[in-house]
């Protein structure tokens, strides 16, 4: 496991630290989150993991909507569970698309500002709506919005009190590419301004584009954490398994053994199973080798390329 090295941008606001110590959560016999410890400081952190890895459970515990079965979740030393005052510094955008559809976005965000007892709720609401670029639609009922627009309305409501910590559960779900880009830019700028931003995602590319720091969860455990590039390298350097079928499997097997990127070849009746250390080098070398030995490749199937298997590999590593 690599160590966390968050890049600290120049803090423009008071910064907050969200700390999890030995946090577990179980439902009956099912362990959803297993002994997770992490500290989140200023900047954007991605919480990456396949569906069902416990990301949402972890986020709910961070946001004070679930008691840890064991361990502690604190924001600047105060527990988040049964402690409403933490919401002065914390904002949450949950995954569930729940909005008061009968309100307009402006009314919705204004209500949030009022509930926060902000000194000038109207100004705060306008600022938050401008931040998510929803001004043009702000006087329409949320019920008429697209999924992406609803999401932005929810983000505006969560940002209205300018929290130091913002937690977002799968914020890019249902957004079109333009909205996605805009949200990514927004998260970046919030992170650069010294806020602690954590968002969850099961899509590698989303995390890659938004955050330098990443926490990877697999099956309730923290599988890796730290700089995204390091984790990416771990992921690309793991052994890849391919199934190859050709006109002459035996000849191809012999030729492949000479290829440096190949770490193992297995020959059976259905074809070849090739283990390669470097995904790119192997897939580039295979056509050349086949051509040089007069073998025609009929099928090349990468095995086990699901995100789950990538994550499981990290867990073993």
């Amino acid at each position: 496991m690599t160590t966390l090295s968050a890049e600290a941008p120049a803090p423009a606001v008071t910064t907050s630290t969200l700390a999890l110590t030995g946090v577990s959560r179980w439902y009956g016999n099912v362990v959803a989150v297993n002994d997770v410890s992490m500290r989140l400081g200023p900047g954007v952190t991605g919480l990456l993991g396949p569906n069902g890895a416990g990301k949402t459970t972890l986020l709910h515990m961070m946001a004070g909507f679930l008691a840890p079965s064991r361990g502690t979740v604190t924001l600047d030393g105060e527990p988040t569970w049964r402690n409403p005052p933490v919401y002065r510094r914390l904002g949450l955008v949950s995954e569930r698309e729940a909005v008061h559809t009968f309100l307009t976005a402006y009314e919705f965000v204004l209500a949030s500002a009022k509930l926060h007892r902000l000194p000038d709720p109207a100004a705060a609401a306008r600022r938050a709506i401008a931040l998510v670029e929803l001004e043009d639609a702000q006087d329409r009922r949320i019920g008429t919005y697209s999924k992406g627009m609803r999401q932005r309305a929810r983000v505006a409501a969560a940002l209205v009190h300018d929290p130091q910590v913002l937690l977002l559960d799968e914020p890019f779900n249902g957004m079109d590419p333009r909205q996605r880009l805009h949200m990514m830019t927004l998260l970046h700028s919030l992170g650069d301004a010294g806020r602690t931003i954590l968002f969850s995602s099961h899509i590698l590319e989303e995390v890659e584009q938004v955050s330098g720091t990443v926490q990877v969860m697999v099956a309730g455990r923290l599988a890796a954490s730290g700089d995204f590039r390091t984790i990416r390298r771990l992921m690309t350097n793991r052994p890849h398994v391919f199934t190859v079928r050709s006109t002459d499997d035996r000849a191809l097997a012999v030729a492949l053994m000479a290829e440096p990127s190949v770490t193992g070849v297995e020959l059976d009746r259905t074809g070849l199973t090739v283990k390669a250390g470097d995904y790119g080098a192997f897939t580039r070398a295979l056509p050349k080798i086949a051509l040089a030995h007069g073998v025609r490749v009929r099928q090349l199937l990468p095995e086990d390329e699901s995100l789950e298997s990538v994550f499981s590999y990290l867990l073993e590593g």
């Binding site: 069902g52 909507f65 679930l66 933490v86 919401y87 729940a98 008061h100 209500a111």
Partner: protein, 236 residues
Amino acid sequence: MSTVTWITARGLFGRRRFLMLLPLPAVLVALAVLCTSLGVDPREWGPPVLVGLGLAVVLPVVALVVGTGVLGAEIDDGTVVHVLTKPLPRWQIVLPKLAVATGVSAVTVAVPIVVAGVLADSVRLGVALAAASALGALAYSALFLALSLVTRRPVLLGLVYVLIWEGLLGRFVSGTRVLSVQQWVITLADRLAPTDLLTAAVSVPVAAVLTTLVAVGLTILAIDRLRSFSVAGETS
């Protein structure tokens, strides 16, 4: 008006289930008007319409729809999270919701019950029924609000209480009447406007004390449960 009150009221009137409140009171008024215009003796139609329909059906059903609507509906669709992610002490969420639920239920029941009470006997009876119903609405609302927080099926459990406990058992097992909001309301109305049309099954002090206890106790329970509100776990 507090923001919680405003959102609660908007949510209540903005949902279609609110329309469910209208038919029952209308039936109550229609029956009372019909019986009077046909010249039926109030001693005959009074108890079944005022008590059997008004206090035993209209009041608890209206209170159930409204009481589970002010918080239960928000828990169901997840919008409650927006109110809970605010630095508000939880009583500042529960009390406005209880006030909206009690107010809306009391008014919805007061209009038809006053009409029916006046037609059956006197203005005094009408007002007494409305006042006792308002106290009943408070007890019921506290009950259904608390139910919204202790179970995922508040409407079902609420119906079981109203139909089985108050309706069925209340009729055959007299002991259950002591713990029946309906009986407290009858007792209190009878105390405010003594009439032959109402038959009290519990004493006035018992009704008054239990109404207060239920309203206060269950509200405190609701506040405490809201403090520990957990979002349903999604372990797939």
